[in-house]
């Protein structure tokens, strides 16, 4: 029987593996690992969220902008269409058209990252960063004290002065230079001491814990106004909160007017204007640190994937612009497209999970 079917030297060729190009198989295997990678993040987020009653969802607290997220979703959908059209053009050997769509995909990826960077800037501005968020009233007061001290610069100056004094005592370095430095630092510290005195009563109250966060926001606003000469914007959407803050600010400004000498006021405006502008309003965001970690981990890894995609499209676009795009790149475009659709897919889930729910 066997002799009859297989004549000598004509055995049928063995066909192994899946019926797709090796490159495409490799891409799909890679995407398989990517599914596990992102599902681990998304799944962990869902589980953490489930077990954390009081998770921050208010956009005024988290500074999550649904409109920006929705625009970015739209941008990625457009880019997915353009990459699929680029692949179709490649299949039809229309390389000019493919180049146009590859360029469009790259441009849309840039738009996506641009919008993402606006969102990231907002998070940095409001200090919604992992490890920076106060999760209790006490934590918020402590944070404000630390930020006030850091802004005045007294702590850093004292540490520097201590170093110079130690060097002088131990006879290290040039004595004249060190003495000069000591004199300059002492003079600077005397001025900074006047700055520190301006917020000393607020600091005392914060340390003792006998001031509400709203009241301390008002007092901080008064301090900012005293130093910069401009009333800072009160960031709240609650009219009651706003009135409490404004009232505390007006009272504090009146107190400061009486307590601070004209000389000091001049010094603050001339040399220390804007010293406290970077100090953040004290807020409590329960689970704010976990939220920030999750937000930056998920969107950050997604943004890295966008960058990798841009690199691929950049390489292909270069070939298109130099007329070196040919049939050999068809599989590359298909694989880059598969990768890009996956990036889109991840965002499709990140958008509702991070921006809406």
């Amino acid at each position: 029987m066997t002799h009859g079917t297989h004549s000598a030297g004509h055995a049928p060729p063995l066909k192994m593996g899946v019926p797709i190009p090796n490159g495409k198989l490799g891409m799909w295997l890679f995407l398989g690992t990517e599914i596990m990678f992102f599902t681990a993040f998304i799944g962990t987020y869902i589980v953490l969220r489930w077990g954390s009653p009081g998770w921050p969802t208010d956009p005024n607290v988290t500074h999550i902008r649904v409109a920006l997220g929705a625009i970015n979703t739209f941008v990625l959908i457009c880019s997915s269409v353009s990459v699929v059209l680029a692949h179709e053009a490649m299949s039809l050997r229309n390389y000019q058209k493919a180049t146009k769509f590859l360029g469009l995909t790259l441009a849309l990826a840039c738009v996506f990252l641009g919008i993402k960077s606006i969102e990231y800037a907002g998070k940095f501005q409001h200090d919604i960063l992992p490890g920076h968020v106060a999760e209790s009233q006490e934590g918020a007061r402590d944070k404000l004290v630390r930020e006030l001290d850091k802004a005045s610069g007294g702590l850093a100056l004292r540490a520097e002065l201590e170093k110079v004094k130690s060097a002088l005592a131990l006879g290290q370095g040039k004595r004249n230079e060190l003495e000069g430095q000591q004199k300059a630092l002492t003079e600077k510290l005397a001025a900074v001491g006047r700055v520190e005195a301006a917020y000393a009563p607020l600091k005392e109250q914060l340390r003792a814990g006998n001031i509400s966060l709203l009241e301390s926001r008002g007092k901080l606003a008064a301090l900012k106004e005293l130093f910069s000469g401009r009333a800072p914007e009160v960031e709240t959407h609650d009219e009651r909160e706003k009135s409490v803050i404004e009232e505390a600010k007006t009272k504090e400004l009146a107190t400061l007017e009486q307590r601070i000498s004209a000389d000091d006021k001049k010094l603050f405006r001339d040399q220390y204007s804007g010293t406290f502008n970077g100090v953040h309003d004290p807020h409590v965001i329960v689970y704010g640190n976990t939220f920030a970690s999750i937000y930056f981990t998920m969107t950050g890894f997604h943004a890295i994937h966008v960058l990798v995609g841009m690199l691929m499209f950049g390489m292909l676009l270069y070939r298109g612009l130099t007329n070196t795009l040919g049939p050999d790149q068809e599989l590359f475009v298909e694989n880059a497209g598969l990768y890009w659709h996956f990036v889109d897919l991840v965002w499709i889930f990140l958008f509702p999970l991070l921006y809406i729910i």
Partner: protein
């Protein structure tokens, strides 16, 4: 790329990937509509309840993902290899959340962590503020509506 392309250049034709030409613009339109549906659900949040909003947007996201995978990633037109390759990864992907869930999500005890303490304090403050603002409604209404936070 060239070497992998050379061997099975007919491979993708065998699977039928190039035979089908889905209407990409129609898929694009559906995806846009679904995104708009998510945003509308978010805007209607207060009226329909958070749980329902969550459910709607996740179902919408799954639909969008299905359209992208089936038509843009051509999985609808690929051979059975897609199941062999993707089913195990999807199952394995669920391992981390499944392993974490019992300890973190489904706690049988009342967690005594600082965040929970702060959350309870915050809720008490909000309740007091609400009662102060609406003295008549405070007694029968009980607790503040979660949507009224901040």
């Amino acid at each position: 790329m060239t070497s992998s392309h050379a061997t099975p250049s007919t491979g993708s034709h065998e699977t039928g990937a190039h035979h089908a030409h889905p209407n990409y613009m129609a898929i694009f339109f559906i995806l846009c509509l679904l995104t708009v549906a998510s945003v509308i659900a978010d805007m209607a949040g207060g009226a329909i309840g958070k749980l329902l909003v969550g459910l709607i947007v996740l179902v919408v996201a799954s639909l969008k993902a299905m359209y992208v995978m089936m038509y843009f990633m051509h999985l609808k037109f690929e051979g059975a290899w897609k199941w062999v390759l993707l089913a195990p990864t999807v199952i394995l992907a669920l391992a981390v959340p499944a392993a974490l869930a019992p300890d973190i999500a489904f706690k049988y005890y009342d967690p005594q962590n600082p965040q929970q303490k702060a959350y309870r304090e915050q809720q008490a403050l909000e309740k007091a503020a609400h009662a102060e603002a609406h003295p008549a409604a405070a007694a029968p209404a009980g607790e503040a509506h979660p949507a009224e936070k901040h």
